[in-house]
Amino acid sequence: MEQVHFDLLKETLYSETLDNGLQVYILPKQGFNKTYATFTTKYGSIHNHFTPLGADEPIKVPDGIAHFLEHKLFEKEDGDVFQDFSKQGASANAFTSFTRTAYLFSSTSNVEKNLQTLIDFVQEPYFTEETVEKEKGIIEQEIEMYDDNADWRVYFGTIENMFHHHPVKIDIAGTAKSIAKITKDDLYTCYETFYHPSNMLLFIVGNVEPEEIMTFVRENQAQKEFAPPEKIERFFEDEPQEAAKKKSVIKMTVQTPKCMIGFKQANTGRFGDERLKYELGMNLLLDYLFGQSSDNYEELYSEGLIDQSFSFDYTEEDDFGFSLIGGDTSDPDRLTQRIMEMIEAVKSKGIDGATIDRLKKKKIGSFLRSMNSPEYIANQFTRFQFGEMNLFKVGEMYDQISKEDLETILKDHFTEKSSTSCQIRPKSV
């Protein structure tokens, strides 16, 4: 078992990669009642075109299948795993993103038992035609709930505008039509391919004894047999650099319009420290441009164009990336125009180093605060690790980012041709 101590954070991280390829990480948190564990596979909604384990030919599977699989994994021959967790005083959950599916529990007692339930249920699939059919009604209602959610619609609308082919433009849950096609055999095919231990990461954080937990996990895995690990072949079509669509408008039953402006990342494929530096740099830059202490924010707020729902975010995964800026607004067209103008103004004026230093302090402090949260640590650590980055290096990486780095990112990322906007407008009654 490896051990890394982070002096300033006063944390020690224990880790090991097991013989079957599973990566296991343990972060003890003394004084906490809670233990939180996530078991994550590097498999999300975008992985819909791949060569199944043991096959030669690539296949395409129905949209929404990773998320469907997440739902179905909880069901077993003798009932629902939720029940086992709650009998053991744990609350369980799961989520699917573009690139990951995570299963988790949190509990204040029976840690080993709950951990065993977590690992075993994810590693023992049980699907029948009948239970697959029954799930379709539930997921249809989940999809409809999001259909009525204006924030989700504007978020996804912007991503759809950006991409020509990339499956990130497909809603994570799929559509009622696409999930209707899913069969139990499809689920097994995806499961066998992507739920191999070598494609997964287990993270345990809480009031635990690392040696004991690691021994427990090792023994659990030693009892199970897995096919030898294979590199998974995933396929993506070539994606042009510019946004697919400049603008779209969705009419909904709302009172306040919404507007999201997106910039599609043209150069992806960064890993490790390079991606970490780029991602942190982008976050600093967005804060510099539109954070609450910026002149731009103050102007937009005073002009009545934004309110507290205004936000921004940058996402980068192995082969796609984008930034999003926006929120509720009285005038979507005007907000889009002002944001584009403000970005151009900073490009020609350059970046002020003193402000960046202040923002770095803010980011480091925020990072420290997020270390209170076991959920944050486990989820973010896993995301970072899948991108070959180390969460605990965030603090020192901020120190290495210069004003010039940010100016480069500014010119690289925020271009006219990579931009798009999506608006929600009230239906006129």
Binding site: K10, N33, M145, D148, N149, V254
Partner: protein, 426 residues
């Protein structure tokens, strides 16, 4: 062993200080709760005040100044909000700041935080008769948008409508954000007058959680916060709940894809009641968890919904059921939900359900003290109810609940209102 003690509660001049000394967190959390009974004529003003308090002080006259200060303080968190807990409308001012010992340079963040909070509370930007016009104008617009955004979020909207219908004629029917059409009628003078009234009369509780030295903290808080004597007449007059002859059924129509079915039940048991533990277990079995009757029967067995849950309003004595369903499944869903309540009343509950629920509640309480904000929330709920319970008492109380206790509290629960938001012409 990490040090975690029971909170020290210290009544000071005009407010109560609660110190929670623990080295579990990498931050220090401050939370100021300002309580007054819901007053129809002041609700909107109070909502606006909560916004204006964070928009400028004497030394930091605008939100840009405030945000730059917070960034310099290693990204300290600072929010103000307004909400409803039972018959009270409460302004919350919250701040959290990194513990200095985790930083390379030893900035005196603790002291800076206290000074800043003291200013937010005691010296918001004003000229002696009114708040700063520009700040007030800005925050009015934001408040109006916040009120509108409830309409835009169909789950919240259905919840608001249920409460309006269910509590018609009672204090609790009023939303904590107030009325959109009232916002523009409030002047910067009105608001300042109301603020002075708040500072003079409202009941204020100040919570500090972190790796602090209690005695030193007490000294600095006392020197910075001078609120003066006060007598707060805060007890809302007892309102007899409006008992309905029969269930109220309300349908609204909008162009939406999914129907929102919200059902409101009343119970006479509130937070202060010794039977409250049993009520919590009752709610857990009924719809509080993923092993609950609602989840199993509405979602897992009938596949009618993605979510089907129940939540308690502990200070009022109400249970709200929420689910998103297809319009055509209204009758089916209501029937299933009614059946689950009948089962609760007739004691059709397994020992497994009872034990599982108690375990989950115990887990929830223990987890809440791992997070400084939920810990403060738990303590403040207790304070509000007038019955303060320690963590140990909570857990013991929950674990002691029997099947008979559940049947007894179930007897107090009656369905009051069914609200359904459905599609146009459906």
């Amino acid at each position: 062993m990490p040090k975690t003690t029971d909170p020290r509660v210290i009544p000071l001049n005009g407010y109560t200080l609660h110190l929670i000394e623990t080295d579990k967190y990498k931050t220090t959390t401050f939370s100021i709760q300002i309580k007054r009974k819901i007053e129809e004529e002041n609700v909107t003003k109070r909502a606006l005040l909560s916004q204006v308090l964070k928009s400028g002080t004497k030394s930091y006259p605008s939100s840009v100044h405030i945000h730059r200060l917070l960034e310099d303080m290693y990204g300290a968190g600072f929010v103000t909000s307004v909400g409803k807990k039972g018959p009270y409308q409460i302004i919350t001012i919250r701040m959290d700041v990194s513990n200095e010992k985790f930083l390379l340079d030893q900035t005196p963040l603790l002291d800076q935080s206290l000074s800043f909070l003291a200013e937010v509370l005691q010296n918001p930007l004003n000229d002696g008769t009114r708040f700063d016009e520009k700040n007030v104008r800005k925050e009015k617009r934001v408040l109006k948008q916040k009120i509108q955004s409830i309409y835009d979020d169909k789950m919240r909207y259905a919840n608001k409508r249920l409460i309006e219908e269910m509590f018609k004629g009672e204090r609790f029917a009023i939303h904590a954000y107030g009325q959109e059409e009232e916002v523009d009628t409030i002047t910067a003078e009105d608001l300042y007058t109301y603020y002075q009234d708040v500072i003079k009369n409202d009941e204020i509780d100040f919570y500090i959680v972190g790796d602090i030295n209690g005695d030193e903290m007490l000294k600095s808080v006392e020197s910075k916060f001078n609120l003066g004597d006060r007598s707060h007449d805060n007890q809302p007059d007892a309102e007899a709940p409006v008992r309905k002859e029969k269930e109220n059924i309300i349908f609204d129509e909008q162009d939406v894809k999914q129907g929102k079915l919200h059902m409101g039940y009343r119970t006479s048991i509130t937070y202060a009641d010794p039977k409250y533990y049993a009520m919590q277990v009752f709610n857990g079995i009924f719809g509080g968890f993923s092993h609950s009757k609602l989840f199993i029967n509405v979602r897992e067995k009938a596949s009618l919904a993605y979510y089907a849950v129940s939540r308690m309003e502990s200070h009022i004595g109400a249970i709200f059921v929420m689910s998103g369903i297809e319009f055509k499944n209204y009758e089916k869903a209501v029937t299933i939900i009614r059946e689950q309540m009948d089962k609760m009343k007739s004691g059709d509950i397994t020992t497994g359900e009872l034990e599982q629920t108690k375990e989950m509640l115990r887990n929830q309480i223990l987890e809440s003290v791992d997070n400084p904000n939920s810990w403060v929330d738990l303590l403040y709920h207790s304070k509000l109810s007038g019955v303060e319970r320690t963590i140990e008492e909570w857990i013991e109380g929950i674990m002691a609940v029997t099947m008979d206790d559940i049947i007894e509290v179930a007897g107090t629960v009656t369905l009051d209102t069914i609200y359904f938001l459905k599609g146009e012409g459906q």
